[in-house]
């Protein structure tokens, strides 16, 4: 594999070279924080369950990210943050499925939720549609990997989780948007 060349002759003057076309530092920081929050909330605020280990409220963070910062944040931070929680908790083989399940959940919720000025009704629609993506993906994925029995047993748990998480995510996004509107813009 090719190694990156490092023989640049004018390292001192950043103006001498083309600036990088990276995403803005604001975006890097915000996405990092939202992803970490999703993982942390998935891993720490969880209720142990006999079947798959844990009933978590990670969905709340997926919906929050999607409603507050749009579908891109919902998809990337929700998908990667939740998949990372799987990886770190020892569910690595499940992480690709989670990536798709939660990524699509964030994507769809983020497209619907903020539409029409982000009314509560639109957000609920977003939770329903996004949640359906997540529940369906998990059901199909589990059916393929674990068989129909496990998938069927998980289905109601996933529905419950998405409803619970959706409720929290909705309340959270409204509380935070109130806070963001109030906050003075100085440091």
């Amino acid at each position: 594999m090719a190694s990156v060349s490092m023989e640049s002759q004018t390292p001192q003057n950043p103006m001498g070279a083309t600036p990088a076309k990276f995403v803005s530092p604001r975006t890097v920081a915000l996405y990092a924080v939202l992803t970490a929050l999703t993982t942390a909330v998935t891993m720490t605020l969880a209720i142990p369950l006999p079947t798959r280990g844990y009933f978590n409220i990670g969905d709340a963070m997926v919906f929050f990210s999607a409603f507050t910062f749009g579908w891109r944040a919902g998809m990337i931070c929700g998908g990667i943050g939740s998949a990372a929680a799987d990886l770190l908790l020892g569910f690595g083989f499940f992480a690709p499925i989670t990536l798709v399940a939660k990524g699509s959940e964030g994507l769809v919720a983020g497209l619907l939720g903020p539409a029409y000025r982000g009314t509560t009704r639109m957000k609920i629609l977003g939770i329903w549609a996004g949640g359906s993506c997540m529940v369906t993906t998990y059901f199909v994925g589990e059916w393929i990997l674990f068989g129909f029995g496990n998938a069927a047993l998980e289905l109601p748990l996933n529905v419950g989780q998405v409803l619970f998480g959706g409720l929290i995510g909705l309340a959270l996004s409204q509380a935070i948007s109130r806070y963001r509107n109030q906050r003075p813009k100085t440091t």
Partner: protein, 289 residues
């Protein structure tokens, strides 16, 4: 050419009606150790953020007057360029270290400036040694104490070889030991490496001890600027400005008030020792004669 040159600088953050800086004139000479003292909202943070162009580039607003860093107008030079002149350290130790190891943290700046990797490694070792954190290369920033984190933040700024360090209440979240270590590092950098240091603080204890000059700020203005002993002598006035006075200056004020003929005005322990010794040995001698 000064390290920092502000002349009638006014700045108002976007969306705000109040001027955060309301006609500030302040010069920091190269190699000086300057502390800006003031309450929250007095404008000291804004001066810090302006010194490497974060104000007005990352935090936009209306900027009037002259604001130059090493002769460069902060308006026309991007943060990435000013960052090689001025290293900035923020108040919160945890939220300015974002890499998974100390080494990556310190290397991050020079990496972005495309410094060859061999040289980066040298700079990392050099910077970590300067702040007394050598051997911590592979540690996660999360696992460090508050004081260690701030010193790594200093190293991360030093590795870009700046001429000035700007620190916005760096000791705010630190325990007393962490504070002492931090100020010792800054003192060493100034004395042995000619580093210009600009600090914002609301506690004047260390300012009295380490600064060449002290600026007092109130409501976006510098209300006095000079040698610590000229500016910090009156504890009452400092307290009225929301600044914690040096503890010994309170002793000095008390003695002045309660002890007949004690015309003390000291702001550091060394000064106090000298002045008190002088006073009392003189008295003793006077009595003996």
């Amino acid at each position: 050419m000064q390290a920092l040159h502000l002349r009638d600088a006014r700045f108002r953050y976007k969306g705000s009606t109040a001027w955060a800086l309301d006609g500030v004139s302040l010069d920091v000479e190269k190699g000086e150790f300057v502390t800006i003292l003031g309450a929250n909202g007095s404008g000291k943070s804004t001066i810090c953020l302006m010194s490497n162009g974060l104000v007005p580039h990352a935090l936009p607003g209306d900027l009037e007057g002259t604001a130059e860093v090493f002769g460069l107008d902060v308006r026309s030079h991007p943060v990435t360029e000013l960052a090689t002149k001025v290293g900035i350290i923020f108040q919160e130790p945890e939220s300015q270290l974002f890499c998974m190891s100390v080494e990556e943290e310190v290397a991050f700046g020079p990496e972005n400036l495309a410094v060859p990797s061999d040289e980066i490694r040298e700079r990392v070792e050099w910077a970590l040694e300067l702040v007394g954190m050598e051997g911590y290369n592979d540690r996660s920033p999360f696992s460090l104490s508050g004081g260690q984190k701030q010193r790594v933040a200093i190293a991360a700024a030093l590795s870009m070889r700046p001429d000035m360090l700007v620190l916005d209440e760096p000791a705010y979240a630190l325990d007393p030991v962490g504070r002492v270590e931090l100020y010792q590092v800054l003192k060493g950098l100034k004395e042995h490496h000619g580093m210009t240091v600009l600090l914002a603080e609301c506690d004047s204890e260390e300012a009295a001890k380490y600064s060449d000059k002290v600026a007092l700020m109130k409501d976006g203005r510098v209300i006095s600027y000079g040698k610590p002993r000229d500016v910090l002598g009156d504890p009452e006035r400092l307290r009225a400005l929301g600044v914690t006075p040096p503890q010994v200056s309170e002793v000095s004020a008390l003695l002045k008030e309660r002890l007949e003929g004690a015309d003390f005005s000291f702001i550091s322990v060394d000064e106090a020792e000298r002045a008190i010794n002088e006073k009392f040995t003189n008295r003793k001698r006077g009595r003996e004669q």
